[in-house]
């Protein structure tokens, strides 16, 4: 068993690797793919992945454009699973449809965009260590994803911080008016069963660090437990002065590759045994504040 005494003295820390990164290794999310959600505790930024769920992303843009989420709330925090925000009137069972907030111009039903065809022209950053759930895993332009060459399909993986569209039993019942973020061990069993629309790139702790709801599935039981959404906007709909300025490390960059390798084999004085492997969902994708 290797020990640190026989290994190179030092693996660069993430901070050191990021400090040495080049400016062109970072990208700014397209404002048409950037959602800004204002909570009492601060701002959550979500980057949409329209290449995987184009109709869901388009519906979300419509909902944001028409201020659908403003005044709605986080109504469900289920430990080791998801934080979900939507119209609290949907919590009632049966739902009293008279009190639901109208969807406006957004569609009420969408085709199930749970997987898509692999595009061999698209950049793909594979991981070398395998995966319990899928034949191949890696990163597609900033998002953790799986490939199944046999079926020719690819899908986004339910890793920590990924955002999906809640739905009812009917696979076409999701429309983006109810969203969840993964806050625990990756629930990869959801992969291919729900539309994953994006990833939280800033403010994740505002979704994960909430009290868990006491009712089944983590629903809050009293209105005052809910976390109100002050606003949820598409950055492209905001004046330049109100847009978030953020950049994300490119997952096809040399610095990202070095981060992955440092995570696989961390050799420093603390670690006696480098793991030698890394799971798709155990890799953090760095983001940082950008200049306006």
């Amino acid at each position: 068993m290797p020990s640190f005494a026989t290994e190179p003295a030092h693996t660069p820390t993430p901070s050191e690797l990021l400090a040495a990164s080049r400016p062109d290794e970072w990208r700014r999310p397209d404002p048409r793919n950037l959602l800004q959600m204002e909570l009492p505790g601060g701002r959550v930024l979500i980057e949409l992945a329209p290449d995987y769920a184009p109709l869901h992303a388009a519906n979300l843009r419509t909902l944001a454009h028409e201020h659908y989420f403003d005044g709605l709330s986080i109504n469900r925090v289920q430990d080791n699973f998801v934080t979900q925000w939507d119209d609290p009137a949907t919590d009632a069972d049966p739902v009293d449809t008279r009190h639901l907030k109208p969807l406006g111009s957004a569609k009420a039903s969408l085709p199930p965009e749970f997987t898509r065809a692999i595009d061999p022209q698209r950049p793909w950053t594979p991981l070398p260590d395998g995966d319990v759930y899928a034949p191949q895993v890696g990163f597609d332009q900033g998002f953790p994803a799986a490939h199944d060459p046999a079926s020719g399909q690819t899908w986004l993986a339910h890793c920590y911080g990924m955002v999906g569209v809640a739905r009812d039993i009917d696979p076409q019942s999701g429309n983006g008016s109810a969203l969840y973020a993964v806050i625990g061990q990756a629930p990869r069993g959801l992969d291919r069963n729900l539309a994953v629309v994006g990833r939280v790139i800033e403010g994740m702790e505002l979704l994960s660090g909430l009290p868990r709801g006491p009712a089944p599935m983590g629903f809050y039981t009293r209105p005052e437990q809910r976390v109100p959404i002050r606003s949820l906007r598409l950055a492209a709909d905001l004046p330049e002065s109100e847009r978030a300025h953020v950049e994300v490390l490119r997952t096809d960059s040399a610095t990202f590759a070095a981060l992955v390798e440092a995570r696989r084999n961390r050799r420093d004085a603390f670690y006696r045994v480098p793991a030698g492997k890394v799971d798709l969902c155990a890799i953090a994708i760095p983001s940082r504040t950008a200049r306006p």
Copy 2:
């Protein structure tokens, strides 16, 4: 790709499986292996795993017996990583040793119990789907663990809810006076590098649902952010009337096997594609309140 239309109509839910379980499929943790930590929000129960870290478990019993943790606090909550509780005086850098709470009869240094020899006589419930990090994974009497037949070693896995002993760079510097619980994606790179001493079997949401600390590594920056520990006791040290009454589903039971299989292949109206696989750390081990 299978769809629910071609699969059996229904996979039993966890509730249904547990409702049909037999009484002898449940076990009560030995009071000498059960820690009861009282926080302002409620009680956290931790089952110790003395077979993996006997000296650490013994030291923890001593610390609890002498009320070491009473009045200390949760001082660090790092998003997607760990919640840690210890003496807040250790947060200072450099630590002012004059203000540290004395360890009493407990040892200040322990051998690194990070792995142990596989005991072929010991019951072992293997999982069938492989693992990114270890040659074999499964459950050993209630704890998620890994086996490496080549080295003959086994170790507890850093899954959600597992409790480990924090240490400094010196592998012998851990003694149990600083403990952490995993609150995010399993940081399996820690496996074999730290002593894992147990698992949270009740009250996990009191550790995971806390605000993340704003300083590096999730440290709180103001004393009032810390979560005070009212008491941490070994159940065996408490009068019968104050002991927690809890039981845990045996991981070598038929009901547990059925739960694992339901997690691997969930076939019901909601799921279009059963995962077909399950990761070690994606399996919940049920516990429930027992009669006194």
